[in-house]
């Protein structure tokens, strides 16, 4: 067994060897290195052909038309383009956006930016299980609402929102619907037609493709307009300028092709491993699963180990690569904002670990992880004054803390 064991597939994934092989032809000096925008020679044409074939593969996974796919540098750029692009284009129609407190930072920070530009944003609270109450969403939509942005699968707790139901709602109200699908593409079925999604953010590196490439789906019928955020040579129908990285597009295309072919079987296998891990941890006293277990992507298990602080636990788990909170925020000392939004007490949020199982995880790795977790949680609880107080029957909620 190779160590450390990688159980952080929601942060990023290794490039699938089949994907790497495809990328090869567009990386080697004797391969296809042309600029896809070069119109005057074969080098350019061949690169363009490869980019277009990949575009079709990306479109196929979400039942879109290839012309509805705009390449970007990743899901963060897709989220930025979707929100700022729509807000700027439809600024005269309305200045209100609805989103949720558990969205990815790329959506939340973009909303903050738009607020500074004078837009109004409603941040919905999720239910304690992480799912949205659609009645609350419906109630939040106003006549001047131009856009609703709700992610498909949450990066920290893996819960799957009912995108189709939200799509029905937004379509009926004539509001644009954006969904960040960085964590769901290739893991949960997506059909932009059936789900009435208007804008959808995609990432390659969360699904065994390369880092540094993503896409935004932009609906053509009924047409959704965006103001470009990256100006220049007019690539991607003027929506996103910049030389396309042929090998990156090809890699994303292949990753999406594989995902489409193997998703059903792979999800089954991964769910089995996730449940095996859950079974191995569930009987430790004072542990809590964060987020709904039923409406949840197969690979995600997010648990709080009460009375043990998350960072010290991660330190104890140096043989396994997991995360506390999301990767983007784990350098900060703040507890996960997602868990706080679920109404989790701060100390439970501080004690959370996210395990994400993926394509290359083995049963042996799962068993080792469960065993190591049990030992380390016990050891750290021996060190924890809170655990001692809890066992002595002290109600920690009633203690007057000398807080900082």
């Amino acid at each position: 067994m190779r160590r450390p064991i990688y159980l952080d597939y929601s942060a990023t994934t290794p490039v699938d060897p089949r994907v790497a092989e495809k990328m090869w032809r567009y990386l080697t000096p004797d391969g296809e290195f042309g600029n896809p925008a070069s119109r005057s020679h074969q080098y350019g044409w061949r690169a363009e052909e490869a980019v277009e074939a990949a575009r079709a593969q990306v479109a196929a996974l979400i039942n879109a038309d290839p012309r509805e796919i705009v390449w970007t540098s990743g899901a963060t750029e897709s989220d930025n383009l979707a929100l700022k692009g729509a807000a700027h284009f439809y600024g005269k129609k309305g200045r209100h956006i609805v989103t949720c407190k558990t969205e990815h930072k790329a959506v939340l920070d973009t909303c903050r930016q738009l607020e500074r530009e004078g837009l109004e944003v409603t941040y919905l609270d999720p239910e304690p299980n992480g799912l949205l109450d659609l009645r609350k969403l419906e109630a939040a939509i106003r006549p001047d609402t131009i856009l609703v942005s709700i992610m498909h699968v949450n990066n920290e707790i893996g819960v799957i929102q009912d995108i189709a139901a939200i799509g029905r709602l937004t379509r009926a109200r004539g509001v644009i619907f954006h969904s960040d699908a960085a964590q769901s593409a290739g893991k949960a079925p997506i059909d932009v037609e059936a789900m009435n999604v208007d804008l959808l953010s995609l990432s390659a590196h969360k699904i065994y493709g390369p880092k540094g490439v993503g896409a935004l789906y932009v609906r053509r019928k009924p047409r959704v307009r965006l103001e470009a955020q990256m100006h220049g040579g007019g690539h991607e129908r003027g929506l996103r300028s910049g030389t396309l990285a042929t090998h990156q597009c090809v890699g994303m295309g292949e990753a999406f092709r594989i995902a489409q072919a193997e998703m059903a079987a792979e999800s089954e296998r991964i769910r089995g491993l996730r449940d095996r891990l859950l079974k191995g941890l569930n009987d430790i006293p004072e542990v809590y699963v964060n987020g709904d277990l039923e409406h949840r992507v197969a690979g995600n298990l997010n648990m709080s180990f009460n009375f043990v602080e998350g960072e010290s636990l991660i330190m104890a788990l140096k043989d396994i690569a997991v995360s506390s909170g999301s990767a983007c925020t784990s350098a900060s000392l703040e507890p996960s904002y997602v868990l706080r939004a679920l109404g989790r007490a701060d100390e439970l949020a501080h004690s959370s670990i996210r395990f994400t199982v993926g394509r290359f995880t083995t049963p042996e790795e799962i068993d080792y992880t469960a065993q190591l977790m049990r030992a380390k949680v016990a050891k750290l609880r021996e060190l924890s004054p809170l655990w001692e107080m809890h066992q002595d029957g002290v109600d920690l909620g009633k203690v007057q803390w000398a807080g900082h």
Partner: protein, 135 residues
Amino acid sequence: MAYSDKVLDHYENPRNVGAFDKSDPHVGTGMVGAPACGDVMRLQIKVNDQGVIEDARFKTYGCGSAIASSSLLTEWVKGKTLDEAGRIKNTQIAEELALPPVKIHCSVLAEDAIKSAIADYQAKAGAKAAKADAA
């Protein structure tokens, strides 16, 4: 985050983990921090009649640096007078453990813990003296 070897050592082999009887008049207890902030430190000292710290114990809920800061502190205070122990500065702890800037608050917490334990002991001793006077 990269931890220094000293932090790792204290984290792997924490010194003086445990508890003294809080009601023992020779014991001073300091508990600082809050679960909501991600760290709670409990430091206890056992003081002899000459005002020298004979022994110390800790338990800490917190990151590796918080655990190391309190573990190191228990080693340092043993054999010191209350006065000497009260003069330990967080910067000394941070320097010894090579704490990065984002972890300085762990050493601050440790300094607060020893000050609080000393105050607790002195309050108890003061109360005892007052009782003796009244008698």
